[in-house]
Amino acid sequence: MVNKENYEEYMMMYTDGELNEAEIKALMAFVNEYPELSKELEAYTATKLLPDTKLVYANKEALLKTLPASGRNIGMRTWWMYAAAAAVLLFAITIIKQGGDAIDSPVVANTQTEQPASTQTPVINNTIQKDSNTEELHSTPASSVANENAIAKAKSKKQKVKSPIIENQIEEPKIVKEETIAPVQQPVYKTANEPVQELIAQQTTQPNSIEETTSAPVETINNEPQKQKKRLLDILPINKNKKEGVNMIANALTKRIENVTENLKDTDVKLKIGNKEIFIVKL
C-alpha cells in the first residue's frame, strides 16, 4: 500500500482530501513508522490555501437582473391596458367579420342567382337589407350608433321573413362550398335566372343576393361583441380624451387588420407599441 515510492502522492492526496478512511489510516501508520516524514506531511498540508474572505466583489447589485420588459404587464400604465383591451375586442370582431366576408366571393355570388327562381321575393328583399347592413359594418367598424341601428333593422327584418330564410340558410352553405370548388358552369345559371338578377341589380350594387342570407346570421352574431365593446368603452372610467385616444388606436388597428389576408389564421398576432409588447393573440 503506502511505501517509500508513493508516500508523497498519498501525502498530496491527503492534502487534497481525496483519500478514504482506510487510505488515511495507512498513510498515518506509514508516517508513524518513519517519523522523519512527519515534517514533510506537515509541509504538504500547509500548502492548502485558504480563501481570503475579506476579499469581496463590491457592488454585486450591478450584476443582478430584473424581469425583461417584454411580456411584462406589471407597471403598465392604465391607459395602455384600456387601449390593449379595446384593440383585442376590435381585433376579434374584425377577424370574425373577415371570416364572414370570406364566403362572399364573386364566384359564389354568381352561382347563387339560380336559387331565387325557387325562392320568394321577400327573401331577396330581406337579404339585400342585410347586405346594406354589412356594408355599414365594413365602412365604419367603430361607429356605434350606425351599427346599432343597423343591427336593430336587421333583427326586425329577419324576424319578419323568418321561415323562408331558414330553409335558405340551411341549403346555401352547401352550394357555396360546391361552387367554390367547381366554378365552371356559371354562365348556365346566369342565363336561367336573368329576371332575378335584374331585380337584385336594381336594389344593390353587389350581385350576390341569396348568398348574403348565408352570411347574415353570422353578422348578427358579430354585432354582439361590437356592441359589447362599445359598452365597455363607455363604462371605462377614463376621460373623453383618453377614450378618443383608445378609439384612434382601435381604428388604426382595424385599418391595418383589414389589409391582412387569410394567412392570418395560421399565425400569431403580436401588438407592439414602441418597444413594448402589449399582447400576443394566438389563433
Binding site: 487534497d16 481525496e18 500548502t47 485558504l50 476579499l55 466583489y57 454585486k60 450584476l63 437582473k65
Partner: protein
Amino acid sequence: MELNDYNNSVKEWADALFRFACKCTGNEEDARDVVQNSFEVLWQKREHVAPAKAKAFLFQVAYNQSVDNYRKQRRMSYKEMVDDNRSVLQGQSDLKRVLERALTKLDEQARALVLLKDYEGYNYEEIGQITGLNESQVKVYLHRARKVLKDYLVSVEHVI
C-alpha cells in the same frame, strides 16, 4: 435557470468567483472584468444551465477567461510581484502571505487547479469538467503544483 436562480447565484458565488479571478489574473481590476463577463455569459445561457450547475459554469467561464485571455497580462503582473519577492523573504513569516508568493511560482493553469481544489473544494473529476482536462491530468498537474508550493515553503523556512 430562472431569474431568481441567476440572482441567487450572484449573491452566493460572486465573491468566491472574484477571489478565484483575483488569484488567477493577479489583479482586482481584471478580476472584476472576469466576474462581470462570467455572470453575463451565465445570464445569456441561463436557459441551458441548471441551477445546480451554475457555480461550476461560472468557474468554467472564469477559468477560460483568466487562463486563456489574461495569460500574457498575468505573466507581466505576476512578474512584478515576483520581483517584489525579497520583501517577503526578509520580513514576512506569515504562512498565508508566503503561500501567496508561492502561487506566483506556478503557471496559470496550475494556479487555477490549486485554487479550485483549495478554495472551492472541487474534486479531481469536477475540476476536470471545469478546466476541460481529464481526471488523471488534473491529478498530475495538481500534485506537481503542490510539490512546488511545498518546496517553496520549505525553502522559505530555511531562509528565515
